[in-house]
């Protein structure tokens, strides 16, 4: 379970933003809605332990993440949180397989090539495992970035505008994959978006004002 308690943040320019409390049950699927500039990315960074809020706490599975040391927070994130960005940023110098193995080793987990194979197969890109990111299409890259996010079976899967740079067909496919993968890996899913195409797929929404 994920809980957001009395979180508020100050921007560098002095602008203040507060977030209403939020309880996310295990395995639930949420939509995080808000116009550009409403603090969507800020909230996602706070949720994922990237940005320490001025006040309030974030508790994931009983761990108040900002009470952890920097090193332990990085490791906690690597093991428990999978993040999918708007654009699929993969390490260009590494093959698809190596990108996924890297995610395992950064989380201090042993290399598990069966898991890599399994995840890639479930996303339909098993044949690309020895290709480099530059050899893949945008849609394939987005699948790889989903694979990287779920490789360590995270409890929380967070996607930041995963569909906004994709056409209708790919957007629908990616959304389906996200929902599928969160189900397969029993992960809680939060999708932040202002993309209207996505709304219908979710029942739970957290709206920023």
């Amino acid at each position: 379970m994920i809980a957001l308690n009395a979180v508020a943040h100050n921007y560098e320019n002095g602008h203040k933003i507060g977030f209403k409390d939020w309880q996310v049950d295990d395995g639930s699927q949420w939509l995080l809605l808000g116009a550009s500039g409403s603090g969507k990315t800020t909230l996602l960074h706070i949720l994922t332990g990237i940005l320490k809020p001025r006040q309030g706490s974030v508790v994931i599975n009983g761990t108040s993440i900002y009470d952890l040391s920097s090193k332990h927070l990085d490791q906690f994130r690597g093991r428990n949180i999978g993040i999918i960005f708007q654009r699929p940023h993969l390490i260009k110098s590494l093959t698809i397989k190596e990108n996924l193995v890297m995610a395992q080793s950064f989380a201090n987990l042993p290399t598990n090539l069966n898991r890599v194979q399994e995840v890639l197969a479930s996303l339909g890109i098993a044949d690309k495992k020895d290709a480099y990111p530059s050899e893949l299409s945008q849609g394939q890259l987005q699948r790889v970035s989903i694979a990287r996010a779920v490789i360590n079976r995270p409890t929380l899967l967070i996607a930041d505008e995963p569909t906004s740079s994709l056409d209708d067909k790919n957007a629908a496919a990616v959304l389906e994959l996200l929902i599928d993968q969160s189900g397969i890996n029993q992960a809680t899913l939060i999708v932040a978006t202002h993309d209207k195409r996505v709304k219908d797929a979710f029942t739970n929404t957290y709206e920023l004002s």
Partner: protein, 406 residues
């Protein structure tokens, strides 16, 4: 997947700039390696060749020239000295051992040295095959000559007038190889040794052609030798006292000069040293430029890679790990450059050595010096120096800011 592998793959993903950095560092290290090897070998050789010789007496002129011609056999002799005066000096109480030298001829550029058995003693020579020269026109040759000129015991050859060149050949007498020396690791490996009267006879043959076949007579020609000349006299002192007295005596009371090999070698080396110093600074400058190039390369790639590094943080990599990844990349580049540079330096010096005309001072690249460890350390230091700032930046980067920019 270790940070090492990530750095390794990162280097390979931009081969052009990596190769440029490696070349720059290899070039600097290569020059330093050559300087290190060459100056060590030259100073070793200078020392080795004059080890047991305290003083050289020869005709007036440049003392350095006298040393070069009589100890290292590279320059022309200063002139000749009367044998009679030389013998008087040799009998002086200050002198323990005196070795007369008569230079003037060569065989294919190899100097033919007329001397006596004291030469064997002062250089501690041993024969590998055959024997030392005894009668006229018998020679004992250095090990390198036997190899390079393909001479063996019993072979004959003609000497040519002068110290190089083979235009004016003395056809009247042929030298015969009587023995081959064991390798000494000094200048004697490249000399042809014979007795003094052979050298004289080679040049006086017109006057004495009739006597030439009468070898029994020659042994007892001592009075005739009195007005002969030799090139120089190598001297070993009897006691340390001689250092003060003897050279002054020679320089003041005779019209010959005395030169100390140790002193002149030091002077020579300090002259070469200026060139070595200049090159050393040049090499250091190249290394410095290489360091800056590695720095710029890493710094620029860090800008491109800041997003990559931020992603790595979101995947669970700690700050320390990012620091390690960046610094490993810099160290790998410079270390590769250093190793290649050291190897190139050795190869280049071996190449230079094999193309050298003068066999007396041949350099080789096939030795490894302990000092090269310093080059290694320097390579490591440059790697750290060039990558520490980018690495610290990677450590400090604010990933939330980087990620929200996109």
């Amino acid at each position: 997947m270790s940070p090492l592998k990530i750095s390794w793959k990162s280097i390979w993903s931009k081969p052009l700039s990596s190769v440029l950095n490696i070349i720059l560092i290899a070039f600097g290290t290569g020059i330093l390696t050559i300087l290190l090897l060459a100056s060590k070998q030259i100073s070793d050789k200078l020392e080795n060749n004059s080890k047991d010789i305290d003083l050289v007496v020869g005709a007036k002129g440049s003392p350095l020239q006298l040393i070069l011609s009589s100890i290292y056999y590279i320059d022309f002799p200063t002139g000749n000295i009367p044998l009679k005066e030389a013998q008087e000096l040799a009998r002086s109480p200050f002198v323990k051992k005196a070795v007369p030298l008569a230079l003037g001829d060569n065989y294919n550029g190899v100097r033919i040295v007329g001397t006596d058995s004291n030469f064997v003693g002062i250089y501690k020579l041993k024969v590998k095959e055959g024997k030392f020269w005894q009668s006229d026109f018998e020679t004992t040759i250095g090990s390198s000559i036997a190899k390079n000129q393909k001479l063996k015991i019993g072979d004959t050859f003609y000497g040519a007038h002068g110290l190089t060149g083979s235009t004016d050949i003395h056809k009247t007498h042929a030298y015969k190889v009587a023995g081959i020396l064991t390798p000494q690791g000094n200048v004697t490996d490249n000399l042809i040794l014979t007795n003094i009267s052979s050298v004289w006879k080679m040049h006086d043959h017109e006057e004495k052609e009739e006597h030439d076949h009468d070898s029994k007579h020659k042994e007892k020609e001592a009075p005739e030798i009195q007005n002969k000349e030799i090139t120089s006299l190598l001297i070993q002192y009897r006691s340390p006292m001689s250092v003060v007295m003897f050279p002054r005596m020679v320089n003041e009371s005779t019209n010959m000069q005395a030169a100390s090999p140790a002193q002149e070698s030091t002077r020579l080396f300090s002259l070469i040293g200026i060139g070595v110093d200049t090159l050393q600074w040049f090499a250091l400058l190249i290394m410095f430029i290489a360091a800056i190039s590695v720095f710029v390369n890493l710094y620029n790639s860090l800008k491109e890679r800041s997003y990559d590094l931020a992603i790595m943080r979101t995947l669970g990599a700690s700050r320390a790990k990012l620091f390690l990844i960046v610094i490993t990349e810099g160290i790998m580049l410079t270390l590769a450059g250093t190793i290649i540079g050291i190897a190139l330096g050795h190869l280049a010096l071996e190449f230079i050595g094999s193309n050298q005309e003068s066999s007396q001072a041949r350099l080789t690249g096939l030795i490894l010096l302990g000092d090269e460890a310093y080059l290694f350390a320097a390579g490591l230091a440059i790697g750290i120096f060039a990558s520490i700032i980018p690495a610290v930046q990677a450590y400090r980067s604010n990933i939330s800011k980087i990620l929200s920019k996109n």
